[in-house]
């Protein structure tokens, strides 16, 4: 079926976007042992910075500059904020990132207002590359896929094949030993935090034109990113990738097919009640798949936590 192919592509776009957010977060999470609540806010900052730059210099300089600015901001926040809070333990760190998320949202509203801003894909990519049946696939979507795959390959190479990557991996599991060997662990932490937020920023830059650039965009994506890294396993790049794609396809497929709960229940052998408006279970009978689609990732997370608490690819407990 044609629609299946289209949905596979759409789900891939959404999944890879999630991956760019979750890959940075999963590194930061395993490094500090604390959820960075502000991670999606850096994603939003990326979109807004790129929008601002695109107004003066066009889309392409924004693609390069915005993630760099977000990364520097992230590194600075780690160096002068988070590191100072770190000594008081995990809870103050958590509260710090939570406050940061609120602060960034207010800052964005202060400078850019509460309305959606007209941040658009570059004109060279605003055409339908090909169509499957009557559905068109925009060139920009293919561009998004290309960027995300490129980022994944780069990350994989740096983390597994280079000296820097090996030190990072060592610092993640045995920070004291690495420090004793003469490496500057706080500097590594700052670097990972900066790169992680820059990745989130880049995700914002390329997702802004597709999903909309407005002050609620961070909140909308915030929780699903945590779900992704828990499912994938903390600190695992492969886990983040697999979980992102899984969630991307799952939610896209769920939203695409209007399977009614009544059909499933009747197929299993239940009988449809005649007086639906009076029936005690009418809410369940009238459900459709697109309605429950958004909660499916959370359901999957609960199942994973029950049967594999360290996630699909994780090596230690959450």
């Amino acid at each position: 079926m044609e629609l299946v192919l289209v949905i596979l592509i759409d789900g891939l776009v959404y999944g890879l976007l999630l991956f760019m957010l979750s890959s940075g977060l999963t590194l930061i999470f395993s490094m500090m042992g604390v959820l960075n609540f502000a991670h999606a806010s850096f994603y939003m900052l990326g979109a807004y910075f790129a929008y601002q730059i695109s107004r003066y210099m066009g889309f392409w300089p924004g693609l390069i500059l915005a993630p760099i600015i977000v990364g520097i901001a992230g590194a600075a926040i780690e160096r002068f904020g988070l590191r100072k809070v770190h000594q008081y333990g995990h809870v103050p760190e958590l509260i710090f990132t939570f406050g940061l998320a609120l602060l960034i949202e207010e800052i964005v509203q202060f400078f850019w207002g509460k309305n959606q801003v007209p941040y658009d894909a570059p004109e060279v990519l605003q055409f339908a590359l090909f169509s499957i049946g009557t559905n068109e696939i925009q060139a920009y979507k293919v561009f998004m896929i290309a960027i995300s795959v490129l980022i994944f390959l780069c990350l994989l190479y740096v983390l597994t094949k280079t000296r820097v990557g090996m030190i990072i991996q060592a610092a993640l599991s045995y920070p004291r030993t690495v420090e004793a060997l003469g490496h500057n662990v706080p500097f590594i932490f700052m670097g990972v935090f900066g790169v992680g937020t820059a990745l989130a920023g880049l995700a914002g830059v390329i997702a802004g034109p597709q999903l909309g650039t407005f002050p609620g965009m961070a909140f909308l994506l915030g929780s699903i990113v945590f779900v992704t890294i828990v499912i994938g396993g903390l600190g695992s790049l492969w886990g983040a990738l697999v979980a992102s794609l899984l969630i991307g396809w799952m939610t896209t497929f769920a939203a695409s097919y209007n399977v009614a709960m009544a059909d499933i229940l009747m197929a299993v052998g239940f009988e449809m009640p005649e007086e639906m408006s009076e029936h005690a279970l009418r809410d369940i009978w009238t459900l459709t798949l697109p309605q429950i689609g958004p909660i499916l990732p959370y359901l999957l997370m609960v199942v994973i936590l029950v049967f594999r608490p360290y996630g699909l690819f994780g090596k230690r407990d959450a």
Binding site: V6, V13, P118, E136, F214, T288, P294
Partner: protein, 414 residues
């Protein structure tokens, strides 16, 4: 504590003096809508429109009752029904007799109930509820009362007008209805399906679905379904980010028909759609300004854009509300005896500043006015929106829409 006591004493004093003496020179109107939080763009825009209308249409013309000025007092209800009732009470305690509210029918239901109760218990201190935007049909049907006046066409009337225009299109074969999963989205869907089945039984409803409100991250799958269904037109009552997300995804997916909407204009939406929305986005509303109905209309809009460059005239009916209230006060000869003012409003006919006639139907207090179908375009636009190169242009007009629409309203009159 001291402040509270003082306020209490002042209120008590005001009541003992009698409102007619204490507030002889200004007629205050409480504007109860979100002025902070995520919904504040709509609220502050309406607030600006009310202030401008009061200034331009009443105060600069010499006021009412031979010199009394209108004053709009803002009350932030934070988009919560509970907070709204508190703010309405504060307004009443300040001696204000006119409550204007519009955002969210849920809040309008709470206010109309509260006003009804208040007026029954305090016959010397009654207030009127001027509803300028809450479009749930129930407010002028089962839930109607004598103190509530609606200056916007309700959702059923708008859909009736929209489907009138849609059914003239011979090529229309398939329609997709999609909306947010809550009371308003459901009533839009029901009205769309009902009207189309009656007017064009040959048109097939190829999709009728609701999506979670404010929770959809990527509208692409919905857009794919719409394109695959072979729909010629889409109807949606979406607003805010859900409107932009859905609209952009549908157009990106290769849909080339019209998308009929209730709220796809201004507040950043027109600017965000930009070139992409041309030929796709249609709006059902009242008071189209491109082209302006008269020189007076043009001057009014120009003056507003000059005074509030960050806002647009998004709710033309606000000017109607203010003009009709002023007329009713003058006819009644009093601004404090709201029963007389309400009686003057009932059945009032008025020439709208936007062209066409206005008629406040006495049996349910639903205004009857021309409803316009407008198109998002950059050509032939005199007044742009969002300070962009696009605006809404009149495509067709249904005169006195819903004049004979039925109502179940049985109000008790004082």
């Amino acid at each position: 504590m001291i402040k509270k006591t003082k306020l209490g004493m002042a209120t008590a004093l005001a009541f003992s003096l009698g409102a007619s003496v204490a507030f002889a020179d200004t007629v205050k109107i409480a504007f109860v809508d979100p002025l902070s939080g995520p919904f504040s763009p709509t609220g502050t825009n309406g607030y600006a429109e009310f202030q401008y209308a009061a200034e331009k249409l009443v105060n600069e013309q010499g006021g009412v009752l031979g010199g009394d000025m209108f004053e709009i007092v803002g009350f932030d209800n934070k988009m919560s029904p509970k907070e709204s009732l508190i703010q309405v009470q504060v307004a009443i305690d300040q001696g204000i007799r006119y409550i204007a509210q519009g955002n969210s029918s849920g809040i309008a239901h709470a206010i109309t109930d509260a006003v009804n109760k208040h007026n029954r218990r305090n016959p010397d201190d009654r207030v009127l509820f001027l509803n300028y935007a809450a479009v749930d049909p129930a407010l002028t049907n089962d839930a109607c009362n004598f103190w509530h006046f609606r200056f916007d066409a309700n959702a059923d009337i708008k859909m009736d007008a929209l489907t009138d225009v849609m059914s003239e299109d011979e090529n229309l074969k398939k329609v997709y209805v999609i909306g947010q999963d809550y009371s308003f989205g459901k009533s839009v869907a029901a009205a769309a399906v009902g009207n189309l089945e009656k007017k064009r039984p040959d048109v097939e409803i190829v999709g009728n679905e609701l999506h979670p409100i404010g929770k959809v991250k990527d509208f692409t799958p919905y857009a794919r379904k719409i394109v695959s269904s072979g729909a010629d037109a889409v109807i949606t009552g979406n607003w805010g980010a859900d409107m932009v997300g859905l609209g952009k995804a549908i157009i990106d997916a290769g849909f080339d028909g019209p998308i009929y909407t209730y709220y796809a204009a201004s507040n950043g939406i027109t600017r965000t759609f930009g070139e992409q929305g041309t030929g796709h986005i249609y709006l059902v509303s009242e008071g189209a300004v491109n082209p302006p109905a008269s020189d007076r209309t043009a001057a009014y809009v120009e003056g507003f854009e000059a005074k509030y460059p960050d806002h647009d005239i998004t709710q033309p009916r606000i000017a109607n509300t203010i003009e009709m209230l002023a007329k009713a006060i003058n006819e009644a000869g009093t601004a404090t005896d709201v029963v007389k003012v309400a009686q003057a409003l009932e059945g009032m006919e008025h020439d709208s500043i936007w062209g066409g006639k206005l008629y406040m139907r006495p049996e349910d207090h639903q205004i009857i006015q021309n409803v316009d179908i407008q198109e998002h375009t950059s050509e032939g636009i005199q007044f742009f929106m969002d300070a962009s190169d696009w605006g809404m242009k009149l495509v067709s007009e249904v005169e006195m829409a819903g004049m004979d629409s039925p109502t179940t309203c049985k109000m008790k009159r004082p």
